[in-house]
């Protein structure tokens, strides 16, 4: 396999900020035929046979790592998982040396999760292999943004003109940033809602509407993407208590009942039931949270396939095992 920049996505997937609407639509369109692979009795196609992929997780992750691993295995890639916590070694040192070591082992792709914003770009600039960002600090989590968009598209038909509100800790959220870039590029109207302490400075300059109150967001939205509130945020003084957070910003069925329309409920997980989302909402008829998880595998297959040199229009035939 050569590592030359592929025409469709380029060498790496670092963030949705860098992608065009055409590229994002291409990924979502590619994911469509790949969905079906996971529904088969034998969930494997030879699309990435002979490719080696390293899942380098410098920060704990369960669902993203497993989702990537399933995507890789269902496309027949050889995978190695690498987990390192930054406890004894300084994170930066580990990263630069890891980059060189991975390079030396002649791998094809790296999926990286790291606690520092910019870590995926850092790695991508230093190795010839394809790099996929599986979440870097507070920067981006592009495959999460893509799977959210695929799920929204499944239900809303199109994203053009649809109103999506991201609720909660936008300040610390890479999911929020990827959603903002991706949704805006596909023509959706995007809003954010949460306590002002958890809003990034100048967030409105990213082209989003800011709602101070959840009631206003509910009134406005076609869909809510509800972010996890990390327990540390309370200790750091961003919010006074989880109880109050739920009372003021929690998405509850009472609040949703006041909405002028049915609102699609997304959550990137893991959920804090009773904090940012009530259980009857999470388990309710408009929640698509588990579909997001299912779509995650298809989206990641699409990204892997496209970075390996595939084209959106060839995805269907590639899936059947025919050369593209």
């Amino acid at each position: 396999m050569t590592h030359e920049a592929t025409p469709f996505l380029g060498k790496d997937l670092i963030g949705l900020e860098e992608l065009s609407a055409e590229q994002i639509n291409g990924i979502l369109d590619t994911a469509e035929p790949f969905k079906e692979i996971s529904e088969r009795a034998i969930k494997k196609v030879p699309v990435l046979r002979g490719k080696t992929i390293v899942n380098a997780f410098f920060e704990n992750s369960t669902r993203t790592r497993i989702s990537f691993e399933f995507a890789e295995k269902r496309l027949s890639a050889d995978t190695v998982n690498f987990a390192a916590s930054g406890s004894s070694v300084s994170k930066g040192e580990t990263l630069v040396d890891t980059a060189r070591n991975l390079e030396a082992m002649r791998i094809d792709m790296v999926v990286i999760r790291h606690a520092s914003s910019g870590a995926a770009r850092f790695l991508a600039d230093r190795i010839g292999s394809n790099v996929i960002n599986a979440g870097d600090g507070r920067h981006e989590h592009p495959t999460q943004g893509l799977l959210d968009m695929l799920t929204l598209r499944d239900h809303l038909g199109t994203l053009e003109g649809k109103r999506i509100c991201i609720v909660g800790d936008v300040l610390h959220s890479r999911v929020a940033r990827s959603n903002i870039w991706g949704l805006r590029k596909l023509g959706a109207e995007v809003a954010v809602c949460g306590p002002a302490t958890l809003m990034p400075v100048a967030v409105e300059e990213l082209g989003v509407t800011v709602f101070r109150r959840i009631e206003e967001a509910v009134e406005w939205s076609d869909a809510l993407n509800i972010l996890r509130l990390q327990l540390e945020r309370m200790q750091a003084g961003y919010v006074p208590s989880l109880r109050e957070y739920n009372r003021v910003f929690g998405v509850t069925s009472a609040r949703l009942e006041a909405a002028p329309r049915d609102i699609l409920i997304l959550h990137p997980g893991p959920m804090n039931r009773g904090v940012e989302i009530d259980s009857d909402v999470a388990d309710g008829p408009h929640a698509v949270i588990l579909e997001q998880v299912t779509n995650g595998v298809a989206v990641r297959m699409a990204v892997l396939y496209l970075l390996a040199g595939g084209k959106p229009e060839s995805a269907e035939s590639a899936k059947q095992g025919r050369a593209s």
């Binding site: 900020e17 300084s90 994170k91 930066g92 040192e93 990263l95 630069v96 790291h114 520092s116 914003s117 910019g118 870590a119 770009r121 850092f122 870097d136 600090g137 507070r138 920067h139 981006e140 890479r174 940033r177 990034p200 400075v201 100048a202 967030v203 300059e205 990213l206």
Partner: protein, 427 residues
């Protein structure tokens, strides 16, 4: 040494004309037309060049002791000379910090041993820079320190800062301050704004610096103490200093070349070579820093030369240390940003880089008046050159200006009547 036919720019004497400069036994002997070279005297043709009092940088980190892989007093003294500086003030945030007379003596001795640019030690305000207990300021000054500062860290305790300003009055010594309210800057790696929000990097608001500038100006006003505010980076900061000086507060302040040349955009793409504290800010702040230097509110140009080994900068943005090297690009950046844009005239620029810094810390030099130290910088204000960090004499290369074409450079640095550095282009 006779320096013949150069344009002498000496703001301390309001001089700007073509004259000969005679240096004898380490002192300025004569300045005039048609000066005769004494027997055996080295003669330098300075035709087409500017002859300025030796430039002075009152804010450099030479890293020794403790950080010799980044810089040593010797390498830093050479880098200073290569940047046209004849004197530098070495910050005390080394490991261990310069908080006792023996440590001050070490920096002084190593500076003398290097024999390049003069190295003046700064001592700590508080023991170990911990912000708890005043150092023996009198002893530090007696050992050769020229100022006290906890640079790199603020003195968070306002009561202690008040005492420091008062106590330093006994010696009429300037107290140099790094203004940062840690409770507002904690975790921050760059300016807080749209760029930090996009990159997902925790930002430091301008208020973190401004709150502390306001506090220290008020404490200087309260005590009558002599305050030197380091590396001012915000428009409001400049404004407050301007107003305080108008009220008679004894304050001097620094503008750095990087804050007058760059904005927060320079860190886009997670470029750690532009990660510096205080951070690069907005175009409005940059403009205010330039204006402050032009109108003299920021009367001193200083580099905050902060060398780091490439291993340390080759990290994810959050994990990389703050700081950039400035000694060898300062003249070029300042001339490109202020002189060649018509913002400042040459005498004012030379004043901000020689006479004003000398006065801010009572250093010898900064003037070519008769009997002063024979410290002279020859400058070619129009030479174009491209910054190539591999040619730095500093041990470190962490500059955001790599590859940038600048206009204006030093060509010869003379300390005590002896050439300590000479550019390769002219011999």
């Amino acid at each position: 040494m006779l320096i013949r036919g150069g344009r002498i720019v000496d703001p301390s004497q309001k001089l700007d004309e073509v004259l000969d400069l005679l240096l004898v036994e380490g002192k300025v002997a004569e300045l005039g037309e048609g000066v005769d070279a004494p027997e055996g005297c080295e003669t330098i043709d300075a035709g087409g060049l500017v002859v300025a009092p030796g430039l002075i940088d009152v804010h450099v980190h030479l890293r020794e002791p403790g950080g010799e892989h980044k810089e040593t007093i010797e390498s830093g003294s050479r880098a200073a000379a290569a940047g046209g500086f004849t004197s530098v003030v070495a910050m005390p945030n080394t490991d261990p910090p310069i908080d006792n007379p023996a440590a001050v003596g070490f920096v002084r001795a190593e500076g003398l041993r290097a024999g390049c640019a003069r190295v003046y030690p700064a001592g700590c305000i508080t023991v170990g820079q911990r912000g708890e207990q005043l150092t023996e300021v009198g002893e530090l000054l007696k050992a050769g320190a020229v100022t006290i500062t906890d640079d790199g860290r603020p003195v968070s305790d306002a009561g202690l800062m008040r005492r420091a300003l008062e106590y330093a009055l006994s010696f009429d010594c300037a107290v140099a301050v790094h203004c940062e309210e840690l409770a507002l800057s904690r975790g921050g790696s760059m300016n807080e704004g749209l760029t930090s929000s996009r990159l997902g990097i925790i930002g430091t608001p301008r208020a973190a610096e401004e709150v502390m500038i306001a506090r220290d100006l008020m404490l200087a006003e309260l005590t009558g103490g002599r305050l030197h505010i380091q590396h001012v980076s915000t428009a409001r900061g400049v404004e407050m200093i301007r107003a305080a000086r108008a009220r008679g507060v004894r304050v001097t302040a620094e503008g750095t070349p990087h804050h007058m040349a760059l904005t927060e955009e320079a860190v886009d793409g997670y470029r750690t070579e532009a990660k510096v504290n205080p951070p690069l800010r907005t175009p409005e702040d940059r403009e205010a820093v330039r204006e402050g230097v032009v109108d003299g509110t920021l009367d001193v140009i200083a580099t905050d030369h902060a060398p780091h080994h490439y291993d340390e900068k080759e990290r994810a943005f959050d994990d990389a240390p703050f700081g950039l090297v400035g000694l060898e690009t300062s003249v070029g950046v300042v001339m490109s940003e202020l002189l060649h844009t018509g913002r400042i005239d040459l005498p004012t620029l030379v004043e901000r880089m020689s006479w004003a810094p000398a006065r801010s810390m009572d250093l010898p030099g900064g003037t070519l008046s008769s009997g002063s130290p024979a410290d002279v910088t020859l400058l070619d204000p129009v030479a174009e050159w491209t910054v190539d960090p591999t040619r730095f004499l500093s041990l470190s290369r962490n500059t955001p200006f790599a590859g940038r074409t600048l206009r204006g450079r030093p060509v010869r640095t003379v300390v005590g009547g002896r050439t300590v550095w000479q550019g390769e282009d002219r011999s």
